[in-house]
Amino acid sequence: MYRIRLHGRGGQGIKTAGRILGSAFFAEGFEVQDAPRYGAERRGAPLFATVRAARQPIAERGEILQPDLVVLADETLAAVPAAGVLAGVDARTVMLINSSESPDTWRARLALGGSVHTLPPATSDRAGERLLGAVCAGAAARCVGVIPRESLAAAIREEVLVMGPGVVEATLERALWAFDCLAAQAGCVAEGRLEAAADWKPPDWIELPFEDARISAPHIHAAGTSVEVRTGVWRTFRPELRSELCHHCHWICSTFCPDGVITADTGGTPVIDYDYCKGCLVCVAVCPHHAMEAVPERGGEAAA
């Protein structure tokens, strides 16, 4: 059985990537199970998708704890414990990372014993960010080696059709390009086998201790705890103000900002708190003078 985990952030197309891979395996005659896993749906929050594919019916379900392939669309997630990127990664796991750093750098940084490859570099335009999932799906399909190019393309047409013909074309272009770029890695992911039941270590079960309600109630007796969570790291796009176009009608952008992170200076110029701006881009949509621009997060930093 192939066991694949794809990690990314909401808005990068990871759920769709899982479905594309699932449909491509299915078209090749595999039994398939694919599923996204996320919390409250929101752009920028960590999520992952799992894909299982086998020649026999699949009875296991849920998290993949012994992945054959882990695809990381957003390298910042490697340092987020709750994202679980490294869970179960061992010497036989292949990792595909979307990064401008070299595979050797990642092997050293994360002490990885298995093989590491990087995804072809993403384009820095806005469409490119949303198509990261397409790149992941194309690259993963090539690495497993049992999905022909045409099946990948057919799966994309099937899964992305609802988003319109333009998205289908753009997804095809990115995914097939990634598929071609990874020709040298074709088939580098092998189907995994689980250890026999006799060889397993018993789980480290404990007796849950009784603790009185002063400790065990789910309360935080303090205000302002959301200050601790810098939700700005969820952003895949940032709104940037072009001050020469701003008419200082700050009431509009600051009122519509759902997170209340736009204030105004004494001159009425909007000020965005990037520590907490999630990049929803409502301000870009509502600005009557088109003074707010959406800039891809990484591209934005490079330009600054």
Binding site: R19, G22, S23, F26, E31, V32, Q33, D34, A35, P36, R37, G39, A40, E41, I58, A59, E60, R61, G62, E63, L65, L194, A196, A197, A198, W200, K201, P202, P203, D204, W205, I206, L208, I215, P218, I220, H221, A222, A223, G224, T225, V227, E228
Partner: protein, 416 residues
């Protein structure tokens, strides 16, 4: 008939579509929403000829569903978690109307604390409401069980609403290959509903669901519902046969997997049972005689079939994905009552696992089987066990420390 990849939610919607339901009142809640989204899409495109409406709450939704069912049309609805709990008053009320419809529950743990992860505390809260309750283990079963549920609830011997449960995430958002039957084949199994005397009409006054003052009349009506639910066991068996001949898949009231010669068995409901099935295969490879017994029906309780399935085993490991606070696992309690006093009854071990979507790992199934085999050999049941790892408590401790540090820092005025 075609085979394609569907999520559990899409399969539930396909069940409603193939049953040609007339009316779908709904209120969205994660993880159920995708079901009503699909029905909305098909209503809009004309692929489903249905009146689909969103109402102001789950309480109103169940009232609307049952009121429509009382006119004799076929009704479908779906909810989850707190939505089901909010509707609870009306679940009890409308079951007594004896007007059948199907309600899908996408199970999700209940507050507090709030979670999106799946367990069975929501749907088990409806256990005694008069709704029959069927539990699915695969996406295919979701589609098939919705069809079975209509035929079961609409049978004149039963005439009770039916809850079909699928697990959030593990089925709701998980795609698996599913046979979607042709409409003709479905029509052969599930003809349109002949409501007979279930026909509330405008300008034709009848009194339905009347009040009775006096325990004798009340007892009559309540106990008749109980008898109808028990009757549903016989009816279910007939329907399972009919489903197999019409659509080719067999869904008996109790699934038994490699249990005939098993020394101990896993006993559970829902989608985690397929994980147990995988564990059974690997334990068998290691030479350990383990099996699985899974009731599809929780209500009515398939008492005789369970006694038969467990007659020869020495130990049963009940895995409850629910918790009756202050008592323990509901499946465990019920199985103990079912087997008490039976000759050579097996030792029954209780495991609580999978609360709030917590996964159960392969090695935990192996350990459960080892603990249960030991208990069976010694002839005495172990204390109930929460499946909980040291690493999980360590994570909780980390959160508690963060909360405490913040509290201390805020108290000392070092932060806003």
């Amino acid at each position: 008939m075609r085979r394609t990849l569907l999520t559990g939610n899409a399969a539930a919607a396909w069940g409603a579509r193939l049953a040609q339901v007339d009316y779908v009142p709904s209120f969205p809640i994660t993880p159920q929403t995708e079901i009503i989204e699909w029905i909305g899409v098909w209503a809009e495109s004309g692929e489903m000829e249905v009146r689909a409406v969103t109402v102001e709450s789950e309480h109103a939704m169940i009232t609307a569903a049952a009121a429509a069912a009382a006119t004799g049309v076929r009704v479908f609805s779906a909810t989850s978690s707190q939505g089901l709990l909010y509707a609870m008053e009306m679940l009890y009320a409308v079951a007594g109307w004896r007007a059948p419809f199907v309600l899908v529950n996408v199970s999700r743990g209940v507050a507090t604390p709030v979670t999106l992860g799946s367990d069975h505390d929501d749907v088990f809260a409806a256990r005694d409401s008069g709704f029959l309750q069927l539990h699915c283990a695969t996406v295919q079963e979701v589609l098939d069980t919705v069809l079975i549920a209509y035929r079961l609830g609409e049978d004149p011997r039963v005439r009770l609403p039916v809850l079909v449960n699928l697990d959030g995430f593990y089925l709701s958002f998980t795609r698996e290959p599913v046979w979607i039957p042709d409409a003709d084949a479905v029509a052969g199994f599930l003809p349109s509903f002949d409501p007979e005397n279930v026909r509330f009409r405008a300008s034709e006054p009848i009194s339905q669901a009347v009040a009775v003052l006096g325990g004798g009349a009340y007892s009559y009506f309540r106990y008749e519902m109980h008898l109808a639910a028990e009757q549903a066991l016989t009816v279910y068996d007939e329907i399972a046969d009919a489903f197999e001949s019409a659509l080719g898949r067999r869904h008996p009231a109790v699934e038994t997997y490699r249990s005939d010669d098993a020394e101990v068995v896993f006993f559970m409901v829902g989608s985690f049972a397929t994980k147990a099935r995988a564990a059974v295969d690997r334990l068998r490879d290691a030479g350990i005689a383990v099996g699985l017994v899974r009731p599809r029906l929780l209500r009515p309780y398939p008492l005789s079939a369970l006694r038969r399935a467990l007659a020869h085993v020495r130990g049963v490991a009940v895995i409850d994905q629910n918790l009756s606070l202050g008592k323990g696992g509901v499946l465990h309690t019920e199985l103990c009552s079912a087997l008490y006093g039976q000759r050579e009854a097996p030792v029954i071990a209780s495991f609580i696992g999978g609360l709030g979507g917590r996964d159960i790992a392969d090695e935990e199934f192996y350990e459960i089987s080892a603990v249960t085999r030991k208990a069976a050999a010694e002839g005495s049941a172990p204390a109930p066990r929460l499946l909980y790892r040291e690493s999980e408590l360590r994570e909780v401790r980390k959160l508690q420390r963060v909360a405490r540090v913040e509290r201390d820092e805020l108290a000392s005025g070092r932060k806003p």
